[in-house]
Symmetry: D2
Subunit: 336 residues, 4 copies
């Protein structure tokens, strides 16, 4: 059964809007960052990672974003192009903004943290006028990411993109991706997350992210059913609520909660798990697979990424994901 | 025929949220403000004026807003109370904000302008947490005003109020009241005006205000029908588009455009015309009158205000409006 | 004996730099401002008032400042011109700044307060490049005022003016005029007040203002002698410390503290006392009078202003001051 | 002959105030940064580098500064301690500020650039109240750096430190270190550089930096003599003006310009040359050496640093500098 209907005959499968930045991953790991001496540079940012993932999986992709007019910005631009992502709507800032940074600290596979540089970040300078209606008009899916709502004018650019996506019938996916450090207050965050989510066909987030959005509401039990039902009253067809180790559940309008099995992995770090899961899952849904099969495919993609040093650069092809699943089924891969 | 259904049995008829400020009206008029030596102080701000108007017309009213912790703020508070407006949700700022000011310049009845002080204005400091759900739950109508969307946190407070009004079934009225000086850009303005308007049952504005909201859309002829149809696709039941001297048209979902006759007035200044019209018109609609009769009542109320020195203080009672209409019909009043 | 030597043969006697704003004085007095309904408009701002005072006393004056591009700014400009003050260095802002306002509240002759509007004030937008070296090169005296140090770029403009005054040998007078509301912190205030005061020949302020400047120093007894001695180590020749009702003392490098008798007045309000005192005193010093006689002249000028409704507009001519002194000596004037 | 007299019997030789940050040096060099994939982390910031240099040379040092409450801040703190620099006045920020970053790009030994992250930098949050008078009271030398003047409250903290240094007789050294990106305007920069320089005993800068400070003055020939003479009218005893490849000249009050020979080096990059030169030169002057010998020592120290990958970490000991000079004199080192 198909829960979401994608428009036919579009020249693009997938467009994302939002954060484009640089990850600086610790080379010497299993220690606090104070003792890390060298870092390796990768393209990062949740919507960028998902788009790279979708492109590796063979879909036709494009990105709507803004990069700094510096060496970091030019690196991002060329990396997207090398990954077959259309950059015709990747705009260069000319106000002196910088590229957002994320330094990773990997103390152990389960104790990872990030040191962010988000002041004056170029990606948050995208304006509504820079969003190309024509691009959104020819995609099947638009993915928005919560971090792009954190500041003006990027916030208004996202609402502009949502307006175009609604107008042209693209399926809208909202990856909540809530990062407190760029927001002024929880009230402000909640206000704009809710306004955006009302317009979305699929919403993916953790239980904590949905709790944040419900701060003015009545859901004292933090019930997934209450949460999902709220969004089905607006535009949502699928609401995925992630419960960390307990796995994710995809809720649909028929009241069903769909779960899928997971795979073992030799975990290096947890960064990138959500982005690779999102890419794998959305790929499956767009192929017309069942939600369960799509979720399994997402899980396997995530296993590949968390076994690697990077997020973006480790995004797998469909063959790599299928191969991983096969090897898991054969018992060749066990948890670390 | 009734175009809007108001909820029954609420303890309040009308609640407005937004700007509360001070008008300083020139005493020596018919000259540039440079030559005006004395000014008289009145309560001002479009939603405040409308609420005063509704209260004078006999409705049960309340206001949601924020005032400075100074003499101007205390004057506003006591004036609202003297006008029988509930002030339980009028919050006092404690950050050092000031009361917004509007100095009026009246060079001639048709050449009026305003000098605004809106930096660090207390009314724009209202937060979402300060908006009382319980108050909105017991009103028939919530009126929002565009100027309250101009800045955070007032902007988020308005969206919070809209959420509560939707939840509790209040009829929502949007008085566009667009004032460029408090906004950063036309794109930002357009984004939030549209997000708010989607949720409203009645929208009142000038043709130019609707044009501003359509900057990313296709309405090259500035067609009222195209404009109204857009909002009927969301929540609107009545869209009033004002064409200055050519009068206002109230569009309804059945495709009709309603017009009403106007009345003569001895015009002192044009300030306050829109606010008194809105109060008179809404009063009529809430009485179950036809749109035409409601619009006439609004026009007569406006005539009374523009014949006076102040806006808020000149808001008429129902008897005064009826008396004005009667005198006009008898030919006792002619245009200045 | 002459404590300060003024340069000969300059085409201007007196130039001030800094605040230029509007006073809105309550017409209905002896009540809280909440109950005041009308206000009268005057030019205000301490350095502006002093300059008006100096011009009324017959000196050749000019002003360095910035006005808003609106009706209030144009009123200020024309008022200065009508008072024979050169306005060739009064610049008009084009960034949308507003004119600073001061609403006065006169509850009783001894209970007066001010409600200030200083956000986005045009006078604080003056830049160093706008200060005309040529103008300062041809004045005997430059007066600076503490409020102009409160924000960039006005702060840097004052230091630029000080540099020019030093270079061209003008006598520099510092009227401390400390107003907490425009400053971010007491540390910041103290830093710039001290840097400016080091370069000044005459410093006038209250005991509390000098205390604020000494927050990182050792003067636990708040000793005037310690305070004055500090500044004599820099450039100062005369330090006037005001002790409210106990009168002012002018300290000189020879270790003397000069006091003068005061005059009775029928006090309406206390605003403007300091500005008229400064004008009268400086006038006397520039005439070569003793400090004592200069201080008496300042006191009499102050009496005239505090007996009137306005500050700027009440600044007396030399004849008026002399007449006041004569009448006091005849016993024709007694305290209210 | 001794141009500067250092106070006797202080428990510290050298204290610096200002920028403390992180250098991220490209590991793969001789290419644009776009193609650099890994970076190595070092402590950076001109005054930090000079202090590390002074400590390596055997002096008793301390630092006045502010670090972020994160892994980068803690790395800086421990690095200073490991280098025997007293950190009792290194304060930790608690406002969410980040550590300033400098990514280096080394295209060739003569084509080097820096990509700076200075938004919300912790070092610029130092307040006047955090500067310990007691620490400055017991040092022979206080070094200030221009970048710390770029923003409040760090700017006021520097002026506070200057006040304490004057009060307690420390020799004050000003390393101009002008970096345009943290300043709002050239006028603002010039204003504060001049106010600080007036109070300094030694001033070191490039010809371009002195030109920036003279933007409101008459030195159309960019004459070093005019520049030096200006500062001798204030507090300066030695003014060092750097002319890039043409070498540096140390001007003294007797009108002499002192030059020194330079040494060859196998240049990796030019970063750090000025900081190591300053440390070596100041060390010499504090030993009572001639200016010429001190300048040579500084040059040799600079040669060692520019032959290495890092700035701070390459700062030499006195033995290393002497050894370098000996080897140069033996002809064992030639230019790259």
């Amino acid at each position: 059964m198909s829960y979401v209907q994608f428009p036919d005959e579009r020249s693009l499968d997938f467009v994302a809007i939002g954060r484009l930045c640089i990850d600086l991953n610790a080379n010497e790991i299993h220690r606090p960052m104070e003792e890390t001496m060298t870092f390796t540079k990768y393209v990062g940012g949740s919507p960028a990672n998902i788009t790279i993932g979708m492109s590796r999986l063979g879909l036709k992709t494009s990105f709507i974003g803004k990069i700094a007019d510096d060496q970091m910005g030019r690196f991002i631009h060329s990396y997207l192009q090398r990954n077959n992502i259309d950059t015709s709507n990747v705009v260069t800032d000319h106000t002196g903004a910088v590229t957002g940074l994320a330094f990773t600290e990997i103390k152990s596979p389960t104790d990872c943290s990030i040191l962010m540089y988000r002041d004056n970040a170029a990606d948050l300078k995208l304006t509504p006028e820079e969003v190309q209606e024509e691009l959104i008009a020819r995609t099947k899916v638009l993915l928005i990411s919560g971090t792009a709502l954190a500041e003006s004018p990027s916030r208004e650019a996202v609402f502009q993109a949502l307006y175009y996506a609604k107008k042209h019938g693209a399926v809208i996916v909202f990856d909540l991706d809530y990062r407190p450090y760029t927001w002024k207050s929880a009230e402000e965050t909640s206000a704009y997350y809710n306004l955006a989510a009302e317009k979305c066909d699929m919403i993916l987030g953790t239980r904590e992210e949905f709790d944040m959005m419900e701060r003015f509401e009545q859901n004292p039990e933090h019930s997934d059913q209450v949460t999902a039902a709220k969004w089905f009253d607006y535009s949502a067809k699928i609401v995925i609520i992630k419960h960390g180790k307990d796995g994710s559940i995809a809720y649909t309008r028929d009241g069903t909660g769909h779960k899928a099995k997971s795979y073992p992995a030799k975990v290096v770090k947890t960064f990138g798990a959500g982005d690779s899961y999102a890419a794998g899952f959305l790929y499956g849904v767009m192929q017309g697979w069942t939600l369960e099969k799509s979720m399994e495919f997402g899980s396997a993609a995530a296993c590949i990424v968390i076994s690697s040093h990077s997020c973006s650069d480790a995004m797998p092809t469909a063959d790599q994901v299928n191969d991983y699943i096969t090897r898991c089924e054969r018992g060749e891969i066990t948890a670390s």
